[in-house]
């Protein structure tokens, strides 16, 4: 069974060695940034920060050096990402390009496409968003209706995307569109396109979230003309291509640590007050125990990726467990703090808790809902 494949793995020493320099850089770069801002974790957007990271060679770490990448292993990237999340670094600008778009362009694109996009991504200057969800295609991604029609010079794009993270402040979208057939064709006839978001005919409208942030957007394509080389990979292979990166997207440290800044703020507060209550001690222990085991699972999946496998079921499993921990943390910390309603809470802890608790439901929605993931695990068990 797939459970047997996840073995306790140590990150190689030369990859682990990246942790020190990254930590030193982040301590300096993020000095004075309030915790509730850092708590945005990988949703925090800061182009200056992304460029500074790019200058150090810490974007595109696993990409080949000929395209400006670091030529390092997925373990090195694990260490880097873990430190970025520990610090609450505002990585959103380059995040999607670094994690998904660049590897996809490298894998499915032409040499020309790789030369055109990857160096800018690695410098932290070129940002991507992922155009998958539509008003009637959420978890049921195969029902996308955005259509790409062949023209004399390339393609014309018509349709609409929604919940596209950072479409209003990224440069390109990797869009999934129907290039043949209709909605009943399902997975067949879908293709991926690299869409320049500055093209005429594109309207982007940010959507405010319940915290007052605006990170996801509606995107409208009204007769958008694309050159022939906007097509990524083969026409009709879109489904295969978008699902090929899911293991990378779902198994990383970012599916365990979304509430880490809150956890640290609470632990620091416990320490500052003296010996914690038995209840708080047990809660801290439980969270740290689960976190340590899930981190070990995430490293074990990384080892599979390193070996060239595509551990889809394993990464679905780690993501569901990880986001459950991410949601457990704000709920139980709020409960523990409410144990003594008269104890004054530092403003920073109160604001961080409010932010994380309110955004926490999104942790098990983004990147594949809990229900979709459990369906994939059930398939792994032979039930579907």
């Amino acid at each position: 069974m797939f459970l047997d494949s996840l073995s306790l793995t140590r990150i190689p020493a030369h990859d682990e060695a990246l942790r020190g320099p990254v930590r030193i850089f982040l301590e300096r770069a993020l000095a004075g940034v309030p915790t509730e801002v850092r708590a945005r974790s990988w949703s925090g957007f800061d182009a200056d920060f992304s460029r500074a990271l790019g200058e150090r060679g810490w974007i595109g770490l696993t990409l080949p050096s000929e395209y400006g990448g670091g030529g390092r292993s997925v373990f090195a990237r694990f260490v880097l990402v873990e430190e970025l999340l520990r610090a609450g670094a505002p990585v959103a600008a380059h995040w999607v390009a670094d994690r998904q778009s660049a590897p996809q362009i490298l894998r499915f694109g032409t040499v020309e496409q790789a030369r055109r996009f990857l160096p800018g991504i690695c410098r932290g200057e070129v940002y991507f968003c992922i155009g998958m969800s539509e008003p009637n295609a959420g978890s049921d991604l195969a029902s996308v209706r955005t259509r790409a029609t062949r023209t004399a010079s390339g393609w014309r794009l018509e349709g609409q995307k929604i919940w596209t993270t950072n479409a209003h402040r990224t440069h390109f979208m990797l869009a999934l569109a129907r290039s043949s057939g209709d909605a009943s064709s399902r997975r067949a006839g879908l293709s991926q396109f690299i869409v320049d978001l500055a093209s005429p005919g594109i309207t982007v409208r940010p959507i405010a979230d319940l915290n007052g942030d605006a990170h996801f957007c509606e995107v409208f394509f009204d007769g958008v003309e694309l050159a022939a080389d906007a097509l990524l990979g083969n026409e009709g292979d879109g489904w295969k291509q978008v699902t090929s990166e899911l293991a990378h997207e779902r198994s990383g440290p970012e599916r365990i640590y979304a509430s880490l800044l809150l956890l640290d703020e609470w632990l620091a507060w416990l320490r500052a007050r003296g010996r914690p209550s038995e209840r708080s001690l047990a809660l801290a222990g439980r969270i740290l125990a689960v976190m340590s085991v899930l981190r070990s699972l995430s490293v074990a999946v990384t080892a599979q990726l390193d070996a060239g496998a595509s551990p889809l079921v394993e990464s679905a499993l780690v993501k569901d467990l990880g986001t459950t921990l991410e949601q457990f943390i704000p709920e139980t910390i709020a409960d523990a703090l409410g144990e003594d309603p008269d104890a004054p809470l530092p403003e920073s802890l109160a604001r961080t808790l409010r932010y994380v608790a309110q955004i926490a439901p999104s942790f098990s929605l983004r990147g594949g809902t809990r229900e979709v993931l459990r369906g994939m695990i059930a398939r792994g068990l032979g039930l579907r």
């Binding site: 069974m1 520990r86 047990a282 059930a378």
Partner: protein, 274 residues
Amino acid sequence: MHDELAAAFDAWLADVCPPGIVRAIDDGGSSATLWQQIESSGYLDALVPEAHGGAGLALAAVRPLVQACGARAVPVPFAETMVARAELARAGRAASDGPLALAELDDATLPAVERGTWLAALTSALIAGAAERVLELASTYAQQRVQFGRPIGSFQAVQHQLAVMAEQTCAARMAAQLAFASPQPRPDRTLAAMAKCVAGEAAAIVAAGGHAVHGAIGITAAYDLQLSTRRLLAWRTEGGSPAYWSREVGLAWWRSGEARALDFALARLDAGHG
């Protein structure tokens, strides 16, 4: 090499300790024959140093053996005896024949705190094995049992229960690996504590899920599920429940002086790699 050892041990266990034997011993039958076979197999000296005539295996190498005992619901204290024999040998003392309990060893041979650590590690691995067995029984049953004209495993509500059981089983397996990860002869206390928190929680969820999927047949004495679920619940609290070990992890964090959660976790996980 360790995988081969584990596979050989498991195949041997399947032979000497099938569900019929487990049930008979659970029902009060004699375990003398089974114990005789276990003693003569040599596996009980897996952890005894080579200088004392044992196999001198590292801690991590015996985790699959303990897990296999959990999966096969071995109704005699194989794992505790294996550990007790190693502790006695290292203390320069002779082990008596027959099953041993860690509680029988005096403090000079095995301090109480180390006994607790051992039990946390052992029960974590036993749970991991039993959870795998329950998941296997439940997934198989869900594919065979037909209701409303289709296998119940085709219903989403059932699929999601099984998916959660798979997640918990996977977490318990990794927890058990951590509990046995120390390069020292004894488990690392904080890693074993973390493991028992996670495996103990998994035990309750997997046992409940296994019964939910099976329905009434799973409650019967005649069906094998109970051999594993009764043990899952017993191992969950034996040597300390998740509540007890959570507090131990919390205390370890408090005493460590670490300011940040990840720094504490990484330092502890590093102890598992030596």
